[in-house]
């Protein structure tokens, strides 16, 4: 029997421990963090192979790939955290091509001193989101930066998916006469995060709408394979997404303010901060542009899905060489809904 003592590694102190530089240096400490925290949480056959890459046979069909870096302050907010957000965000980017998401890769940049307990919370939340979505995190990477050079944790996720035959969804396919559909209330995520910002903190029961939308997209694609455009209105809000699509397709849009669903809490919070919900971020909503004849089937499919229960038709695509997005206000006038410029700021006066 060998007399060599087995190497003892003190278990990770997930209660009081903190990330230090050795967790990113490639040695035992890093291996331990990967095994005991990341691999334990994500737990799948690819990670179990302990390779630097995940190996799988590509399914037939066209593939899509999308990547998204996540920085959010605060890291934990009502209704979610940076962990589930990083899973949902990338799944949604993949799904907006009409694709079925298959796998995720995750890169972490950790700041020295970040509590391991918080890291575990984040990773567990990611793992839960990925399991619920049925899209495993199959490979990843961790780096540690010195204190002051990060903001706790940054997460970049990359996702791949496969697009069913006959589906051609792209931001440049909107045509005059098409209808604009929205899957639900806008501004929930942005205002939920803002309600917890230091110096702005206000009491509200708002929760982020962060969610993976590929299930909803699958139902929509099944109902109307001819969908022209899909996009999730994240940063910059609905207004920015509509402007992106209008610019890409070379069309104008006319939307109806009264048709856009907004929760009263979001409206109230926007009101006292002087913000416009049209520009506030969402993490679980999508905009769909379709031919007029597909509108009824799509709305029915969306409303039958829990993430599309409040789906609404909010406007039409128009011919407009200026590519303006215009809105009929509830007040009865018209105005341009422009790109967001800079950040939305509370008004002074």
């Amino acid at each position: 029997m060998s007399t060599v003592k087995p190497g003892y590694v003190r278990p990770l102190d997930l209660r009081h421990g903190r990330v230090d530089l050795s967790h990113g240096s490639g040695g035992r400490a890093m291996a331990q963090l990967v095994t005991d925290l990341f691999a334990a949480a994500f737990d799948n056959e690819w990670l179990a192979q302990r390779n630097d890459q995940a190996l799988f046979a590509p399914p037939p069909g066209r593939m899509v790939i999308a990547t998204d870096s996540h920085v959010v302050s605060p890291l934990f907010f009502p209704g979610g955290d940076i962990g589930c957000l990083s899973v949902h965000g990338t799944i949604n980017d993949v799904a907006m091509a009409g694709a079925r998401p298959l796998h995720l890769a995750a890169g972490f940049i950790l700041e020295e001193g970040f509590p391991l307990a918080d890291l575990k919370r984040v990773v567990d939340s990611m793992a839960r989101a990925s399991r619920e979505a049925g899209v495993p995190v199959v490979t990843g990477d961790t780096k540690v930066v010195e204190q002051g050079k990060g903001d706790g944790v940054f997460i970049t996720t990359t996702g791949i998916g496969v697009v069913p035959d006959g589906i051609h969804i792209s931001g440049d396919r909107a045509r005059p006469g098409d209808r604009i559909l929205l899957s639900g209330t806008i501004g929930d995520h942005g205002m939920a995060v803002m309600s917890k910002r230091e110096s702005l903190e206000f009491t509200s029961d708002l929760v982020s709408d962060t969610a993976a939308l590929h299930g909803l997209v699958a139902d929509m694609v099944a109902a109307a394979p001819g969908i022209r455009c899909l996009r999730d209105p994240t940063r910059g809000g609905l207004a920015t997404t509509l402007n992106e699509l209008a610019a890409q397709s070379g069309v104008g849009m006319a939307i109806d303010e009264a048709a856009i669903p907004v929760l009263p809490q979001v409206e109230a919070a926007c009101e006292f901060l002087g913000l416009d919900p049209l520009y506030v971020a969402n993490e679980g909503k999508l905009v769909c542009i379709c031919a007029p004849e597909d509108q009824a089937a799509l709305l029915a499919a969306m409303r039958a899905h829990p993430l599309g229960a409040r789906a609404a038709a909010i406007g039409t695509v128009e011919a407009d060489e200026h590519r303006f997005v215009q809105m009929r206000t509830r007040f009865g006038g018209r105005r341009v809904v422009d790109w967001l410029s800079g950040d939305q700021l509370p008004r002074i006066c």
Binding site: S199, L200, A254, P264, E267, A268, E271, D276, T316, E318, D320, H322, F324, Q326, T329, R330, F331, G332, G333, R334, R335, V336, D338, S341, G342, D343, L345, P346, R347, I348, C349
Partner: protein, 380 residues
């Protein structure tokens, strides 16, 4: 939403629009200036102009705190942050205002200046408390609405003996600006700016009351209707102005009775009077030097006056030559008259201050109203 939707009701708006159209005399024009950026914003955001007959014209006034701030004042703040390494606290709107040397506070921040957005003057005091080893300067801007909170911040700093806190005061006064416009040659002699009446400030008037406007109504024979910032407030005020002008009256009327009284907020006025005194003259962007139009700290508060503490001296810096902000702020020109509007000058790269704040005439027009410049096409 309760207490908000009532003031944005499209049905009521159509009723008011019909009344304005019915009562406005087609034989004349009604040139009405909304003084406040808040009104400019409401008019643009809700499309109020669409509901008015062609002979009722709205002229955007200079009541946007960021827009009237001259470059030299922003420079003072930037230099404090860059050269004296203070923590400069400011309301978010100030960040993108163009300053000298191609800088703005936002760009200075990217060059290492410690500039922080605060939502209230009290947050700046809190920062000073949290950073006793740093100088914290609050860049105070705004009309009478934001002046009392600045006074409270200074009183708090005094009470707590916060020696590392000071304020760069840029507070300006509404009545002086209105007088300046009414006295301008364009309005008085040349007649290039026809000005028939004013929509008076909402929030400013909650502090100063409606009494200060009585002078304009009487002296200059211009009706003033104080109005709230909701679109129906604005519509109602327009109707009231049309009626005054039809009757040949020039009175101060108060549409915003739910918040404004004749005497205003006496406690706030007293606090401001005890803390600040008038500057002999102050430069406004667009209006130039305006006598007795701004405030500075009284001597008793010199210890918290950044200008005294850091020995700051104001230097006037001319605006970009192509920029028409000055004329626009005086109501002489419309944003579309400016050659660089929407080309060189956009909200992303503002040349003039009116393009910065969402309350600025150019930004409001660019963001909400540009499509009116396009030949009308049939609505879908």
């Amino acid at each position: 939403m309760k207490y908000i939707d009532e003031f944005r009701d499209g049905e009521v708006a159509r009723g008011l629009a019909a009344a304005i159209a019915r009562e406005a005399d087609p034989a004349r024009t009604y040139n009405l200036m909304e003084f406040c950026g808040g009104h400019t914003h409401a008019i643009s955001r809700y499309g109020v102009a669409d509901l008015l007959p062609a002979n009722v014209r709205m002229i955007h006034g200079p009541g946007c705190p960021v827009c009237v701030l001259p470059i030299g004042r922003i420079d003072l703040g930037i230099r404090l942050a860059l050269e004296r390494r203070v923590i400069l606290c400011t309301y978010g709107d100030c960040l993108r205002v163009p300053a000298s040397d191609g800088l703005s506070m936002l760009k200075a921040k990217a060059r290492g200046a410690d500039i922080r957005i605060v939502y209230s003057a009290a947050d700046a005091v809190k920062l000073a408390r949290e950073h006793p080893d740093r100088e914290v300067v609050f860049f105070a801007i705004g009309f009478e609405t934001t002046t009392p909170p600045t006074a409270v911040a200074i009183r708090t700093a005094q009470r707590e003996g916060l020696a590392n806190f000071s304020v760069l005061v840029n507070h300006v006064l509404t009545p002086s600006a209105i007088t300046n416009i009414l006295e301008s040659p364009e309005v008085r002699h040349l007649g290039t700016v026809p000005l028939d009446g004013f929509i008076g400030p909402a929030h400013v008037s909650t502090v100063i009351g409606s009494r200060p406007y009585e002078f304009f109504a009487e002296e200059y024979r211009k009706p003033v209707v104080i109005a709230g910032f909701e679109p129906l407030d604005v519509m109602q005020a327009i109707l009231m102005l049309v009626r005054q002008l039809n009757d040949g009256r020039a009175e101060v009327e108060n549409e915003f009775t739910r918040a404004v009284t004749r005497d205003g907020n006496a406690k706030a006025q007293q606090l401001v009077a005890d803390t600040f005194e008038l500057r002999r003259s102050f430069e406004w962007r667009g209006l130039g030097e305006v006598p007795y139009s701004a405030l500075r700290l009284r001597d008793a508060f010199r210890a918290w006056d950044a200008e005294a503490k850091f020995d700051l001296h104001y230097t006037s810096v001319p605006d970009n030559k192509a920029c028409e902000c000055g004329a626009i702020l005086r109501g002489v020109k419309h944003p579309r008259d400016c050659k660089i509007f929407g080309t060189v000058c956009t909200p992303e790269n503002p040349v003039g201050s009116c393009m910065v704040s969402s309350e600025g005439a150019c930004a409001a027009h660019y963001t909400y109203g540009r499509f009116r410049e396009i030949p009308v096409r049939s609505a879908a």
